[in-house]
Symmetry: C2
Subunit: 217 residues, 2 copies
Amino acid sequence: MSSQRLRVSCFSISLDGFGAGPNQSLDNPLGEGGMGLHGWMTKTRTFQKLHGGEGGTTGVDDDFTASGFHNVGAWILGRNMFGPIRGDWPDDSWKGWWGEPTPYVPVFVLTHHARAPLVMEGGTTFHFVTDGIESALRKAKDAAGGKDVRLGGGVGTLRQYLRARLIDELHFAVSPVVLGRGEHLFQGLDLRELGYEVVRHATTPDALHFVLSRASR
Amino acid sequence: MSSQRLRVSCFSISLDGFGAGPNQSLDNPLGEGGMGLHGWMTKTRTFQKLHGGEGGTTGVDDDFTASGFHNVGAWILGRNMFGPIRGDWPDDSWKGWWGEPTPYVPVFVLTHHARAPLVMEGGTTFHFVTDGIESALRKAKDAAGGKDVRLGGGVGTLRQYLRARLIDELHFAVSPVVLGRGEHLFQGLDLRELGYEVVRHATTPDALHFVLSRASR
C-alpha cells in the first residue's frame, strides 16, 4: 500500500462553521469576511516569508503553517479556489489568485471545462482535470514523486472528498469570528460516521487547531 | 429601560457545531458523547465546588464557569434540559437532572404540558410555563429581583430565543471533540443578521471561549 496521503492543512473555519464567506469575487477571493478567518496564519513567519515579507510569529500557529508544506508533492484545488471564473474559460489570462510565487509543485484543478495545462514561470504547472475527484487524486499522487498530496479547498471540493472518504488527515483552525452566512463546511456531514476522530488539538491566542484522522487507519 | 439581561453562559459546542449529542436519555442527559463537550468545565474549581467536590483548576475556564453564576436571579430551561420526559407529565416524580443542589433561584421550564410548581428542599422552585418564550422571559425577569436571567438551554430553546433576538449576551466554548450528529446549534441561523458580533474570545488548553453580544446595543 502506498504511504502517500491526501491531506488538508490550515483550513480555517468560523465559530459558526463557515469555511468561506458569501459572494466570492475578484475583490474577495475568500468571500465577504473570509480573510478574517486567517488572522492566525497571516501573522506567522512562514506566511510572511512565502509572501516575500520578513519577521512574523513563531510557535504553534507557525508550526502548523509550515508543516502544511512539508512533504507535499502535488496540490488539488477546486476550481473556485483557483479563481472566480465560472463556466467556459474565456481565455488563458487567469493564472490563479497568487501570481508568482506559486506552490512550485504540480497543481491539479478540478473543473468541468477543459483547458490546456498552464505552466508558470516559477516552474509550477496547473493541470485541469475534468473527469472527477478520484481521477484528480490518482493524477496528483502519480505526479507527487512519492510525497503527499495536499487538498487546498475550497469548501465544496473538500466536502466531496470527505464524503468519498478519500482524505487521510485534516488540519483545521477555528478562528474567533462569526460569518453568519457563506459556505458551511460540515453541515450534513457526519464526521464520526465517515470514520474521523480528533487525534490532536492545540490552542493559541488566535485559534483552536485540530487534526482529524481516519479512525480505521 | 431595564438593565436586566438575558444571558447564555458556558454553552459548549463541538468542533462540528453540535450543542448536544443524539439520543438524549436518562443515561445520557446530554445525548451520546455530549459529556465530552464539557471537559473544560468539569475540571474547574467552581464546578467541583458546586458538586460537593474539592480542588479543581483555576484560571480562564474557571473564571467563565464562575461568572456564569454571577448576578443571576432566575433561570430559563427548555423542557428537554429539565428532563428526558416527553408529552404529559406521568406524575410529579421527575425533579430535574440535578437532585439537590439546584440553582437556588427560580427556574422557569418551557413546556406544552402544564404542571404545578415544584418546590425543592434547597429553596429552588421550578415553574412550568406553557405560554411561550416571551412569557417565560417576562416571568423570569419579574422573579429575578433586578438581576439577570440565565438561559440554560437546550439547543432548541436557545435557537428559539436567538431567532427572536431576545438574548443579550452569549458565552460559548468550542471543545475539541467531534460528535457527527446531534443537535446543531447555529445551522440555518445568520448570527450577523441577528445582530451578534464577537466581543471577546479566549483560549485555554481545553476550549476556545467566545462571547457574542448584540451589536446594536
